[in-house]
Amino acid sequence: MSCQADDERQICHSFLRGNLVGMMTTTATGVPGSGIDPQGAPAIALAGLRKSFGQVDAVKGLDLTVQPGEVVAFLGPNGAGKTTTIDMMLGLSKPDAGTARVFGMQPRDAVARGLVAAVMQTGGLLRDLTVRETVDLTASLFVQTRSVQECLQRAGIDDIADRKVHKCSGGQQQRLRFAMALVSDPALIVLDEPTTGMDVTGRRDFWSAIRQDAERGRTVLFATHYLEEADLYADRIVLMRHGQIVADGTGSQIKAMASGRTVRATLSGLSDRELAAIPGVESVEVRGESVLLHAKDSDSVARHLLTQTNARDIEITARGLEDAFVALTSDEH
Protein backbone atom coordinates (compact mmCIF):
# COMPACT_ATOMS: atom_id res chain seq x y z
CA MET A 1 0.00 0.00 0.00
CA SER A 2 1.18 3.45 -0.83
CA CYS A 3 0.08 4.80 2.52
CA GLN A 4 2.44 2.49 4.35
CA ALA A 5 5.27 3.60 2.13
CA ASP A 6 4.37 7.24 2.77
CA ASP A 7 4.23 6.54 6.44
CA GLU A 8 7.64 4.96 6.51
CA ARG A 9 9.11 7.72 4.43
CA GLN A 10 7.66 10.22 6.89
CA ILE A 11 9.27 8.47 9.82
CA CYS A 12 12.61 8.05 8.02
CA HIS A 13 12.51 11.68 7.00
CA SER A 14 11.97 12.79 10.57
CA PHE A 15 14.58 10.38 11.82
CA LEU A 16 17.19 11.71 9.42
CA ARG A 17 16.51 15.19 10.68
CA GLY A 18 17.08 13.91 14.19
CA ASN A 19 13.49 14.56 15.09
CA LEU A 20 12.27 11.11 15.97
CA VAL A 21 12.44 11.86 19.67
CA GLY A 22 10.64 15.12 19.12
CA MET A 23 7.96 13.34 17.16
CA MET A 24 7.39 10.77 19.86
CA THR A 25 7.12 13.48 22.49
CA THR A 26 4.48 15.14 20.35
CA THR A 27 2.58 11.90 20.19
CA ALA A 28 2.35 11.79 23.92
CA THR A 29 1.78 15.41 24.81
CA GLY A 30 0.83 17.28 21.66
CA VAL A 31 3.48 19.98 22.00
CA PRO A 32 4.36 21.97 18.90
CA GLY A 33 7.67 21.87 17.11
CA SER A 34 7.43 18.19 16.28
CA GLY A 35 9.19 18.46 12.97
CA ILE A 36 6.36 16.72 11.10
CA ASP A 37 5.58 18.46 7.87
CA PRO A 38 1.90 18.07 6.99
CA GLN A 39 2.66 19.40 3.52
CA GLY A 40 2.83 16.55 1.04
CA ALA A 41 1.55 13.89 3.45
CA PRO A 42 -1.73 12.18 2.58
CA ALA A 43 -4.73 13.69 4.32
CA ILE A 44 -5.67 10.25 5.62
CA ALA A 45 -3.49 7.15 5.71
CA LEU A 46 -4.98 4.05 7.31
CA ALA A 47 -2.94 0.86 7.20
CA GLY A 48 -3.94 -2.58 8.43
CA LEU A 49 -6.52 -1.07 10.75
CA ARG A 50 -8.34 -3.51 13.02
CA LYS A 51 -10.81 -3.08 15.84
CA SER A 52 -13.05 -5.53 17.61
CA PHE A 53 -15.54 -5.19 20.42
CA GLY A 54 -15.66 -8.47 22.29
CA GLN A 55 -16.51 -11.17 19.77
CA VAL A 56 -17.48 -8.70 17.06
CA ASP A 57 -14.79 -7.73 14.55
CA ALA A 58 -15.97 -4.25 13.56
CA VAL A 59 -13.00 -3.38 11.33
CA LYS A 60 -10.95 -6.15 9.77
CA GLY A 61 -7.69 -4.97 8.26
CA LEU A 62 -8.55 -1.76 6.47
CA ASP A 63 -6.19 0.17 4.19
CA LEU A 64 -7.16 3.56 2.85
CA THR A 65 -5.23 6.56 1.57
CA VAL A 66 -6.97 9.85 0.85
CA GLN A 67 -5.03 12.64 -0.82
CA PRO A 68 -5.54 16.30 0.16
CA GLY A 69 -8.47 17.88 -1.65
CA GLU A 70 -10.39 14.67 -2.32
CA VAL A 71 -14.09 14.44 -1.52
CA VAL A 72 -14.65 10.86 -0.45
CA ALA A 73 -17.89 9.12 0.43
CA PHE A 74 -17.66 6.31 2.91
CA LEU A 75 -20.57 4.18 1.89
CA GLY A 76 -21.97 1.12 3.55
CA PRO A 77 -24.98 -0.31 5.33
CA ASN A 78 -25.46 0.18 9.05
CA GLY A 79 -22.97 -1.90 11.00
CA ALA A 80 -20.40 -1.99 8.19
CA GLY A 81 -17.79 -0.41 10.47
CA LYS A 82 -17.89 3.15 9.10
CA THR A 83 -18.27 4.87 12.46
CA THR A 84 -15.64 2.65 14.10
CA THR A 85 -13.18 3.52 11.33
CA ILE A 86 -13.98 7.22 11.66
CA ASP A 87 -13.45 7.06 15.43
CA MET A 88 -9.95 5.65 14.92
CA MET A 89 -9.24 8.22 12.19
CA LEU A 90 -10.12 10.99 14.66
CA GLY A 91 -8.19 9.48 17.57
CA LEU A 92 -11.39 8.86 19.55
CA SER A 93 -10.55 5.20 19.86
CA LYS A 94 -7.37 3.18 19.56
CA PRO A 95 -6.99 0.55 16.85
CA ASP A 96 -6.27 -3.00 18.04
CA ALA A 97 -3.75 -3.21 15.20
CA GLY A 98 -2.54 -1.05 12.34
CA THR A 99 -1.96 2.67 12.12
CA ALA A 100 -4.04 5.75 11.43
CA ARG A 101 -2.28 8.94 10.31
CA VAL A 102 -3.78 12.28 9.43
CA PHE A 103 -1.50 14.64 7.49
CA GLY A 104 1.35 12.38 8.57
CA MET A 105 0.56 12.80 12.25
CA GLN A 106 -1.13 10.86 14.97
CA PRO A 107 -4.82 11.81 14.79
CA ARG A 108 -4.68 13.47 18.22
CA ASP A 109 -1.86 15.79 17.10
CA ALA A 110 -3.75 16.76 13.96
CA VAL A 111 -6.83 17.47 16.09
CA ALA A 112 -4.79 19.60 18.50
CA ARG A 113 -3.60 21.70 15.55
CA GLY A 114 -7.13 22.21 14.27
CA LEU A 115 -6.31 20.34 11.05
CA VAL A 116 -9.22 17.93 11.49
CA ALA A 117 -12.81 18.57 12.45
CA ALA A 118 -15.79 16.27 12.53
CA VAL A 119 -19.54 16.43 12.51
CA MET A 120 -20.92 13.52 14.47
CA GLN A 121 -24.41 12.09 14.21
CA THR A 122 -25.73 12.81 17.68
CA GLY A 123 -24.86 14.49 20.96
CA GLY A 124 -21.84 16.68 21.44
CA LEU A 125 -23.78 19.80 22.39
CA LEU A 126 -24.38 21.52 25.72
CA ARG A 127 -28.09 22.10 26.20
CA ASP A 128 -27.70 25.20 28.37
CA LEU A 129 -25.57 27.20 25.93
CA THR A 130 -26.87 29.34 23.10
CA VAL A 131 -25.98 28.59 19.51
CA ARG A 132 -23.50 31.47 19.36
CA GLU A 133 -21.91 30.61 22.71
CA THR A 134 -21.36 27.03 21.53
CA VAL A 135 -19.42 28.19 18.47
CA ASP A 136 -17.64 30.86 20.53
CA LEU A 137 -16.55 28.28 23.10
CA THR A 138 -15.33 25.98 20.35
CA ALA A 139 -13.41 28.85 18.76
CA SER A 140 -11.76 29.68 22.10
CA LEU A 141 -10.02 26.29 22.04
CA PHE A 142 -8.12 26.71 18.76
CA VAL A 143 -5.16 28.86 17.77
CA GLN A 144 -6.28 29.66 14.23
CA THR A 145 -10.00 30.22 13.66
CA ARG A 146 -12.48 31.80 11.28
CA SER A 147 -14.85 34.35 12.80
CA VAL A 148 -17.78 32.97 14.79
CA GLN A 149 -20.25 35.09 12.81
CA GLU A 150 -18.96 33.78 9.49
CA CYS A 151 -19.34 30.17 10.64
CA LEU A 152 -22.87 30.79 11.88
CA GLN A 153 -23.75 32.36 8.52
CA ARG A 154 -22.22 29.59 6.47
CA ALA A 155 -24.10 26.98 8.46
CA GLY A 156 -27.28 29.04 8.02
CA ILE A 157 -27.96 29.57 11.73
CA ASP A 158 -27.02 33.22 12.29
CA ASP A 159 -30.72 34.04 12.70
CA ILE A 160 -31.02 31.68 15.67
CA ALA A 161 -27.64 32.54 17.22
CA ASP A 162 -29.18 33.52 20.57
CA ARG A 163 -31.41 30.46 20.84
CA LYS A 164 -30.60 27.90 23.54
CA VAL A 165 -29.38 24.61 22.11
CA HIS A 166 -32.16 22.59 23.76
CA LYS A 167 -34.74 24.69 21.91
CA CYS A 168 -33.22 23.90 18.50
CA SER A 169 -34.70 21.30 16.18
CA GLY A 170 -32.68 18.26 15.13
CA GLY A 171 -31.83 19.88 11.80
CA GLN A 172 -30.73 23.11 13.53
CA GLN A 173 -28.54 21.16 15.93
CA GLN A 174 -26.97 19.41 12.96
CA ARG A 175 -26.23 22.82 11.38
CA LEU A 176 -24.71 23.91 14.68
CA ARG A 177 -22.39 20.89 14.67
CA PHE A 178 -21.41 21.92 11.16
CA ALA A 179 -20.70 25.50 12.28
CA MET A 180 -18.51 24.13 15.10
CA ALA A 181 -16.58 22.03 12.60
CA LEU A 182 -16.02 25.07 10.35
CA VAL A 183 -14.60 27.26 13.08
CA SER A 184 -11.04 25.90 12.99
CA ASP A 185 -11.00 26.06 9.17
CA PRO A 186 -9.91 22.40 9.11
CA ALA A 187 -7.88 20.88 6.28
CA LEU A 188 -9.90 17.68 6.70
CA ILE A 189 -13.54 17.53 7.65
CA VAL A 190 -15.08 14.20 8.58
CA LEU A 191 -18.85 13.94 8.52
CA ASP A 192 -20.74 10.99 9.96
CA GLU A 193 -24.19 10.84 8.33
CA PRO A 194 -24.15 14.64 8.15
CA THR A 195 -27.57 15.34 6.71
CA THR A 196 -29.59 13.20 9.12
CA GLY A 197 -32.63 15.22 10.17
CA MET A 198 -32.19 17.88 7.49
CA ASP A 199 -34.89 18.69 4.98
CA VAL A 200 -34.27 18.78 1.23
CA THR A 201 -33.26 22.47 1.19
CA GLY A 202 -31.07 21.90 4.21
CA ARG A 203 -29.26 19.07 2.44
CA ARG A 204 -28.69 21.07 -0.71
CA ASP A 205 -27.38 24.12 1.19
CA PHE A 206 -25.16 21.91 3.29
CA TRP A 207 -23.57 20.22 0.29
CA SER A 208 -23.07 23.49 -1.55
CA ALA A 209 -21.14 24.82 1.46
CA ILE A 210 -19.08 21.62 1.57
CA ARG A 211 -18.27 21.89 -2.15
CA GLN A 212 -17.21 25.53 -1.78
CA ASP A 213 -14.67 24.52 0.84
CA ALA A 214 -13.46 21.61 -1.24
CA GLU A 215 -12.57 24.21 -3.90
CA ARG A 216 -10.19 25.74 -1.39
CA GLY A 217 -8.44 22.41 -0.96
CA ARG A 218 -10.30 21.02 2.03
CA THR A 219 -10.39 17.23 2.15
CA VAL A 220 -13.84 15.87 2.86
CA LEU A 221 -14.74 12.38 4.02
CA PHE A 222 -18.36 11.63 4.74
CA ALA A 223 -20.10 8.47 5.84
CA THR A 224 -23.50 7.78 4.44
CA HIS A 225 -25.77 4.92 3.63
CA TYR A 226 -27.42 6.79 0.76
CA LEU A 227 -25.81 5.74 -2.50
CA GLU A 228 -27.39 8.71 -4.24
CA GLU A 229 -25.82 11.20 -1.83
CA ALA A 230 -22.45 9.53 -2.32
CA ASP A 231 -22.84 9.55 -6.08
CA LEU A 232 -23.94 13.19 -6.24
CA TYR A 233 -21.39 14.81 -3.96
CA ALA A 234 -18.27 12.65 -3.82
CA ASP A 235 -15.36 12.40 -6.28
CA ARG A 236 -14.62 8.97 -4.91
CA ILE A 237 -16.72 6.32 -3.23
CA VAL A 238 -15.26 3.85 -0.79
CA LEU A 239 -17.65 1.02 -0.15
CA MET A 240 -17.45 -0.80 3.16
CA ARG A 241 -18.97 -4.09 4.17
CA HIS A 242 -18.32 -6.22 7.24
CA GLY A 243 -15.38 -4.08 8.33
CA GLN A 244 -13.58 -4.19 4.99
CA ILE A 245 -13.39 -2.10 1.85
CA VAL A 246 -15.16 -3.99 -0.92
CA ALA A 247 -14.99 -1.33 -3.63
CA ASP A 248 -13.14 1.93 -4.17
CA GLY A 249 -13.64 4.17 -7.18
CA THR A 250 -15.63 6.96 -8.80
CA GLY A 251 -19.40 6.88 -8.69
CA SER A 252 -19.68 5.55 -12.23
CA GLN A 253 -17.04 2.89 -11.61
CA ILE A 254 -18.91 1.68 -8.55
CA LYS A 255 -22.18 1.62 -10.43
CA ALA A 256 -20.57 -0.27 -13.30
CA MET A 257 -19.18 -2.82 -10.86
CA ALA A 258 -22.53 -3.44 -9.32
CA SER A 259 -24.87 -2.73 -12.17
CA GLY A 260 -25.40 -6.25 -13.43
CA ARG A 261 -28.63 -7.24 -15.08
CA THR A 262 -31.34 -9.67 -14.26
CA VAL A 263 -32.20 -12.37 -16.79
CA ARG A 264 -35.68 -13.75 -16.33
CA ALA A 265 -36.71 -16.94 -18.06
CA THR A 266 -39.25 -19.75 -17.89
CA LEU A 267 -37.55 -23.10 -17.84
CA SER A 268 -37.72 -26.53 -16.30
CA GLY A 269 -35.40 -29.43 -15.58
CA LEU A 270 -32.52 -27.57 -13.96
CA SER A 271 -31.75 -27.52 -10.25
CA ASP A 272 -30.70 -24.33 -8.42
CA ARG A 273 -27.17 -25.63 -8.33
CA GLU A 274 -27.09 -26.24 -12.07
CA LEU A 275 -28.49 -22.76 -12.70
CA ALA A 276 -25.88 -21.17 -10.46
CA ALA A 277 -23.18 -23.04 -12.36
CA ILE A 278 -24.04 -21.31 -15.64
CA PRO A 279 -21.00 -19.12 -16.51
CA GLY A 280 -21.52 -15.52 -15.37
CA VAL A 281 -24.45 -16.16 -13.04
CA GLU A 282 -23.97 -14.50 -9.64
CA SER A 283 -27.20 -15.42 -7.92
CA VAL A 284 -30.36 -17.35 -8.57
CA GLU A 285 -33.95 -16.86 -7.54
CA VAL A 286 -36.58 -19.44 -8.43
CA ARG A 287 -40.23 -18.35 -8.56
CA GLY A 288 -42.25 -21.34 -9.63
CA GLU A 289 -41.72 -21.89 -13.35
CA SER A 290 -39.66 -18.68 -13.72
CA VAL A 291 -36.10 -18.19 -12.68
CA LEU A 292 -34.29 -14.90 -12.06
CA LEU A 293 -30.59 -15.02 -12.81
CA HIS A 294 -28.44 -12.05 -11.72
CA ALA A 295 -25.33 -11.52 -13.80
CA LYS A 296 -22.92 -8.83 -14.93
CA ASP A 297 -22.59 -10.33 -18.40
CA SER A 298 -26.25 -10.93 -19.12
CA ASP A 299 -25.61 -11.58 -22.83
CA SER A 300 -23.56 -14.71 -22.25
CA VAL A 301 -26.10 -16.01 -19.73
CA ALA A 302 -28.93 -15.42 -22.21
CA ARG A 303 -26.93 -17.10 -24.96
CA HIS A 304 -26.31 -20.11 -22.73
CA LEU A 305 -29.99 -20.33 -21.78
CA LEU A 306 -31.14 -20.17 -25.40
CA THR A 307 -28.63 -22.63 -26.75
CA GLN A 308 -28.14 -25.13 -23.92
CA THR A 309 -31.51 -25.24 -22.12
CA ASN A 310 -35.22 -25.24 -22.84
CA ALA A 311 -35.59 -21.67 -21.56
CA ARG A 312 -38.22 -19.41 -23.15
CA ASP A 313 -39.83 -15.96 -22.54
CA ILE A 314 -36.44 -14.44 -21.77
CA GLU A 315 -36.47 -10.88 -20.37
CA ILE A 316 -33.37 -8.87 -19.51
CA THR A 317 -33.69 -5.91 -17.10
CA ALA A 318 -31.12 -3.52 -15.62
CA ARG A 319 -30.73 -3.11 -11.87
CA GLY A 320 -31.44 0.23 -10.24
CA LEU A 321 -28.95 2.17 -8.12
CA GLU A 322 -30.33 0.78 -4.91
CA ASP A 323 -30.08 -2.75 -6.26
CA ALA A 324 -26.47 -2.05 -7.16
CA PHE A 325 -25.76 -0.96 -3.63
CA VAL A 326 -27.49 -4.00 -2.20
CA ALA A 327 -25.60 -6.25 -4.60
CA LEU A 328 -22.27 -4.87 -3.44
CA THR A 329 -22.98 -4.87 0.25
CA SER A 330 -25.27 -7.81 0.85
CA ASP A 331 -24.17 -11.25 2.02
CA GLU A 332 -25.75 -13.16 -0.86
CA HIS A 333 -23.77 -13.98 -3.95
Binding site: Q39, G91, L115, M120, G123, D128, S140, Q153, R216, G217
Partner: protein
Protein backbone atom coordinates in the same frame (compact mmCIF):
# COMPACT_ATOMS: atom_id res chain seq x y z
CA UNK B 1 -35.75 28.81 6.75
CA UNK B 2 -32.30 30.20 6.31
CA UNK B 3 -30.67 30.49 2.97
CA UNK B 4 -27.07 29.46 2.61
CA UNK B 5 -26.75 30.25 -1.04
CA UNK B 6 -27.03 33.96 -0.23
CA UNK B 7 -23.85 33.74 1.83
CA UNK B 8 -20.63 34.79 0.19
CA UNK B 9 -18.23 31.86 0.08
CA UNK B 10 -14.68 32.26 1.31
CA UNK B 11 -12.68 33.06 -1.83
CA UNK B 12 -11.09 29.98 -3.38
CA UNK B 13 -7.76 31.81 -3.64
CA UNK B 14 -7.53 31.68 0.14
CA UNK B 15 -6.28 28.11 0.42
CA UNK B 16 -6.52 26.01 3.55
CA UNK B 17 -3.49 26.57 5.71
CA UNK B 18 -1.68 23.46 6.92
CA UNK B 19 0.82 25.20 9.14
CA UNK B 20 -0.91 25.22 12.52
CA UNK B 21 0.09 25.49 16.12
CA UNK B 22 -1.13 23.75 19.26
CA UNK B 23 -2.67 26.18 21.80
CA UNK B 24 -0.70 27.05 24.92
CA UNK B 25 -1.70 25.56 28.30
CA UNK B 26 -3.64 22.71 26.64
CA UNK B 27 -6.37 25.11 25.49
CA UNK B 28 -6.99 26.70 28.91
CA UNK B 29 -7.83 30.35 28.20
CA UNK B 30 -9.61 33.36 29.66
CA UNK B 31 -12.21 33.24 26.92
CA UNK B 32 -13.07 29.62 27.74
CA UNK B 33 -13.14 30.37 31.46
CA UNK B 34 -15.49 33.34 30.93
CA UNK B 35 -18.03 31.20 29.05
CA UNK B 36 -17.80 28.42 31.62
CA UNK B 37 -18.26 30.86 34.51
CA UNK B 38 -21.30 32.38 32.82
CA UNK B 39 -22.81 28.89 32.63
CA UNK B 40 -22.25 28.40 36.36
CA UNK B 41 -23.69 31.74 37.39
CA UNK B 42 -26.86 31.47 35.36
CA UNK B 43 -27.66 27.95 36.51
CA UNK B 44 -30.60 28.74 38.81
CA UNK B 45 -30.63 25.33 40.45
CA UNK B 46 -26.98 25.50 41.46
CA UNK B 47 -27.42 29.05 42.74
CA UNK B 48 -30.46 28.10 44.84
CA UNK B 49 -28.78 25.10 46.44
CA UNK B 50 -25.40 26.69 47.01
CA UNK B 51 -26.19 30.34 47.79
CA UNK B 52 -29.85 30.78 48.71
CA UNK B 53 -30.10 27.67 50.89
CA UNK B 54 -27.04 28.44 53.10
CA UNK B 55 -28.33 32.00 53.55
CA UNK B 56 -31.74 30.68 54.66
CA UNK B 57 -30.06 28.18 57.01
CA UNK B 58 -27.93 30.91 58.56
CA UNK B 59 -30.95 33.19 58.90
CA UNK B 60 -32.91 30.41 60.61
CA UNK B 61 -30.25 28.83 62.82
CA UNK B 62 -27.61 31.56 63.26
CA UNK B 63 -29.05 35.06 62.99
CA UNK B 64 -31.89 34.24 65.39
CA UNK B 65 -29.45 33.31 68.17
CA UNK B 66 -27.34 35.53 70.35
CA UNK B 67 -24.47 35.43 72.81
CA UNK B 68 -22.00 32.58 73.27
CA UNK B 69 -22.29 28.82 73.66
CA UNK B 70 -22.68 27.79 77.34
CA UNK B 71 -19.38 27.63 79.25
CA UNK B 72 -17.36 29.09 76.38
CA UNK B 73 -16.55 32.36 74.72
CA UNK B 74 -17.56 31.12 71.25
CA UNK B 75 -19.98 33.47 69.48
CA UNK B 76 -22.97 31.41 68.27
CA UNK B 77 -23.66 33.63 65.26
CA UNK B 78 -20.02 33.53 64.19
CA UNK B 79 -19.93 29.74 64.60
CA UNK B 80 -23.11 29.19 62.55
CA UNK B 81 -21.99 31.71 59.94
CA UNK B 82 -18.84 29.66 59.28
CA UNK B 83 -20.85 26.42 59.36
CA UNK B 84 -23.23 27.46 56.60
CA UNK B 85 -20.58 29.28 54.58
CA UNK B 86 -18.58 26.04 54.52
CA UNK B 87 -21.70 24.06 53.67
CA UNK B 88 -22.48 26.41 50.73
CA UNK B 89 -18.89 26.31 49.51
CA UNK B 90 -18.77 22.50 49.68
CA UNK B 91 -22.10 22.17 47.87
CA UNK B 92 -21.03 24.66 45.17
CA UNK B 93 -17.61 23.13 44.56
CA UNK B 94 -18.99 19.60 44.49
CA UNK B 95 -21.85 20.60 42.17
CA UNK B 96 -19.48 22.20 39.66
CA UNK B 97 -17.22 19.17 39.81
CA UNK B 98 -20.14 16.83 39.29
CA UNK B 99 -21.32 18.81 36.27
CA UNK B 100 -18.83 16.74 34.28
CA UNK B 101 -21.36 13.90 34.49
CA UNK B 102 -23.95 16.02 32.70
CA UNK B 103 -21.40 16.93 30.05
CA UNK B 104 -20.46 13.29 29.61
CA UNK B 105 -24.11 12.30 29.28
CA UNK B 106 -24.68 14.98 26.63
CA UNK B 107 -21.65 13.81 24.66
CA UNK B 108 -19.82 17.08 25.25
CA UNK B 109 -16.72 15.40 26.74
CA UNK B 110 -16.42 13.39 23.55
CA UNK B 111 -16.90 16.51 21.44
CA UNK B 112 -14.10 18.20 23.37
CA UNK B 113 -11.80 15.36 22.36
CA UNK B 114 -12.16 16.66 18.82
CA UNK B 115 -10.60 19.94 19.96
CA UNK B 116 -7.11 20.80 21.26
CA UNK B 117 -8.40 21.01 24.86
CA UNK B 118 -6.50 18.50 26.99
CA UNK B 119 -8.08 16.52 29.80
CA UNK B 120 -6.04 18.34 32.43
CA UNK B 121 -6.94 21.77 31.01
CA UNK B 122 -10.62 20.77 31.11
CA UNK B 123 -10.33 19.70 34.76
CA UNK B 124 -8.40 22.89 35.55
CA UNK B 125 -11.30 24.94 34.13
CA UNK B 126 -13.75 22.99 36.28
CA UNK B 127 -11.61 23.51 39.39
CA UNK B 128 -11.35 27.29 38.80
CA UNK B 129 -15.13 27.47 38.25
CA UNK B 130 -15.66 25.45 41.44
CA UNK B 131 -13.45 27.87 43.38
CA UNK B 132 -15.39 30.87 42.07
CA UNK B 133 -18.70 29.20 42.81
CA UNK B 134 -17.48 28.30 46.31
CA UNK B 135 -16.47 31.91 46.97
CA UNK B 136 -20.03 33.18 46.41
CA UNK B 137 -21.76 31.56 49.43
CA UNK B 138 -18.75 32.37 51.61
CA UNK B 139 -18.84 36.07 50.70
CA UNK B 140 -22.62 36.35 50.94
CA UNK B 141 -23.09 34.41 54.18
CA UNK B 142 -20.21 36.31 55.81
CA UNK B 143 -21.67 39.65 54.64
CA UNK B 144 -25.05 38.73 56.13
CA UNK B 145 -23.28 37.49 59.26
CA UNK B 146 -21.51 40.80 59.66
CA UNK B 147 -24.77 42.67 59.11
CA UNK B 148 -26.60 40.58 61.74
CA UNK B 149 -23.99 40.93 64.44
CA UNK B 150 -21.74 37.87 64.20
CA UNK B 151 -18.67 38.58 66.31
CA UNK B 152 -15.19 37.69 65.12
CA UNK B 153 -11.94 39.58 65.73
CA UNK B 154 -10.34 41.69 63.01
CA UNK B 155 -7.88 38.88 62.26
CA UNK B 156 -10.47 36.13 62.48
CA UNK B 157 -12.74 37.58 59.77
CA UNK B 158 -10.34 37.24 56.82
CA UNK B 159 -8.76 34.02 58.12
CA UNK B 160 -12.17 32.37 58.64
CA UNK B 161 -13.33 33.43 55.16
CA UNK B 162 -10.19 32.15 53.52
CA UNK B 163 -10.36 28.82 55.37
CA UNK B 164 -14.08 28.34 54.60
CA UNK B 165 -13.37 29.02 50.95
CA UNK B 166 -10.29 26.77 50.67
CA UNK B 167 -11.88 23.91 52.63
CA UNK B 168 -15.10 24.15 50.61
CA UNK B 169 -13.32 24.38 47.25
CA UNK B 170 -11.28 21.27 47.95
CA UNK B 171 -14.48 19.21 47.69
CA UNK B 172 -14.53 19.92 43.96
CA UNK B 173 -12.53 16.69 43.98
CA UNK B 174 -15.52 14.82 45.43
CA UNK B 175 -17.77 16.29 42.72
CA UNK B 176 -15.35 15.31 39.95
CA UNK B 177 -15.05 11.79 41.36
CA UNK B 178 -18.84 11.30 41.49
CA UNK B 179 -19.20 13.03 38.12
CA UNK B 180 -16.85 10.57 36.43
CA UNK B 181 -18.03 7.56 38.45
CA UNK B 182 -21.79 7.82 37.97
CA UNK B 183 -23.03 7.28 34.45
CA UNK B 184 -25.75 9.63 33.14
CA UNK B 185 -27.03 12.78 34.75
CA UNK B 186 -27.81 11.27 38.17
CA UNK B 187 -24.67 12.59 39.85
CA UNK B 188 -26.42 15.78 41.00
CA UNK B 189 -29.28 13.84 42.58
CA UNK B 190 -26.83 11.72 44.55
CA UNK B 191 -24.65 14.64 45.55
CA UNK B 192 -27.31 16.97 47.07
CA UNK B 193 -28.54 14.64 49.83
CA UNK B 194 -25.06 13.10 50.06
CA UNK B 195 -23.46 16.39 51.09
CA UNK B 196 -26.12 17.03 53.74
CA UNK B 197 -25.55 13.54 55.09
CA UNK B 198 -21.79 14.09 55.21
CA UNK B 199 -22.38 17.45 56.91
CA UNK B 200 -24.32 15.73 59.69
CA UNK B 201 -21.96 12.75 59.94
CA UNK B 202 -18.80 14.85 59.98
CA UNK B 203 -19.95 17.28 62.65
CA UNK B 204 -20.57 20.28 60.43
CA UNK B 205 -24.34 20.54 61.01
CA UNK B 206 -24.33 18.64 64.28
CA UNK B 207 -21.55 19.80 66.63
CA UNK B 208 -19.24 16.96 67.67
CA UNK B 209 -19.74 17.98 71.31
CA UNK B 210 -23.35 16.76 71.25
CA UNK B 211 -22.33 13.30 69.95
CA UNK B 212 -21.41 10.39 72.20
CA UNK B 213 -17.84 9.11 71.99
CA UNK B 214 -18.60 6.27 69.54
CA UNK B 215 -20.32 8.73 67.21
CA UNK B 216 -17.40 11.13 67.58
CA UNK B 217 -14.95 8.40 66.60
CA UNK B 218 -17.08 7.44 63.59
CA UNK B 219 -17.42 11.11 62.63
CA UNK B 220 -13.65 11.49 62.54
CA UNK B 221 -13.47 9.02 59.67
CA UNK B 222 -15.89 10.92 57.42
CA UNK B 223 -14.74 13.42 54.75
CA UNK B 224 -16.11 16.63 56.25
CA UNK B 225 -14.74 16.09 59.79
CA UNK B 226 -11.23 17.47 59.30
CA UNK B 227 -12.27 20.17 56.85
CA UNK B 228 -15.03 21.58 59.06
CA UNK B 229 -12.79 21.56 62.14
CA UNK B 230 -10.08 23.43 60.23
CA UNK B 231 -12.60 25.95 58.88
CA UNK B 232 -13.97 26.62 62.37
CA UNK B 233 -10.57 26.77 64.04
CA UNK B 234 -10.48 30.60 63.99
CA UNK B 235 -13.63 30.79 66.11
CA UNK B 236 -13.07 27.65 68.21
CA UNK B 237 -9.50 28.43 69.22
CA UNK B 238 -7.65 25.97 71.43
CA UNK B 239 -5.06 23.55 70.12
CA UNK B 240 -4.85 22.58 66.46
CA UNK B 241 -5.26 18.83 65.96
CA UNK B 242 -2.89 17.55 63.32
CA UNK B 243 -5.33 14.76 62.53
CA UNK B 244 -7.71 17.35 61.01
CA UNK B 245 -5.16 18.09 58.37
CA UNK B 246 -4.38 14.40 57.85
CA UNK B 247 -8.09 13.65 57.41
CA UNK B 248 -8.61 16.57 55.03
CA UNK B 249 -5.60 15.76 52.85
CA UNK B 250 -6.34 12.03 52.82
CA UNK B 251 -9.95 12.48 51.72
CA UNK B 252 -9.27 15.16 49.13
CA UNK B 253 -6.35 13.11 47.83
CA UNK B 254 -8.55 10.01 47.64
CA UNK B 255 -11.33 11.83 45.76
CA UNK B 256 -8.91 13.42 43.35
CA UNK B 257 -7.11 10.15 42.66
CA UNK B 258 -10.49 8.49 42.11
CA UNK B 259 -11.52 11.24 39.70
CA UNK B 260 -8.28 10.89 37.72
CA UNK B 261 -8.66 7.11 37.60
CA UNK B 262 -12.26 7.33 36.36
CA UNK B 263 -11.30 10.03 33.86
CA UNK B 264 -8.60 7.79 32.37
CA UNK B 265 -11.00 4.85 32.18
CA UNK B 266 -13.52 7.15 30.52
CA UNK B 267 -11.24 8.46 27.78
CA UNK B 268 -9.96 4.98 27.03
CA UNK B 269 -13.42 3.57 26.55
CA UNK B 270 -15.13 6.36 24.61
Amino acid sequence: MTNLSAVQPIPADEPINLDRRVPARGGFSGRLLRIELARVLRNKRTMIFTVVLPVIFYAAFGATQSGTFPDSSIDVKGYEMITFAVYGAVAAAAAIGASVSVERAQGWSRQLRLTPLTGSAYIAVKVVCAMVAAALPVLIVFAIGAATGAKLSAVEWPVAMLLAWVCGSSLASLGLFIGYLVPSENAMQILGPGISLLAFAGGLFLPLQVMNSTMQTLASFTPLWGLSQIARYPVLGGSFDGMWLVSALAWVGFFFAGAVWCFRRDTKRV
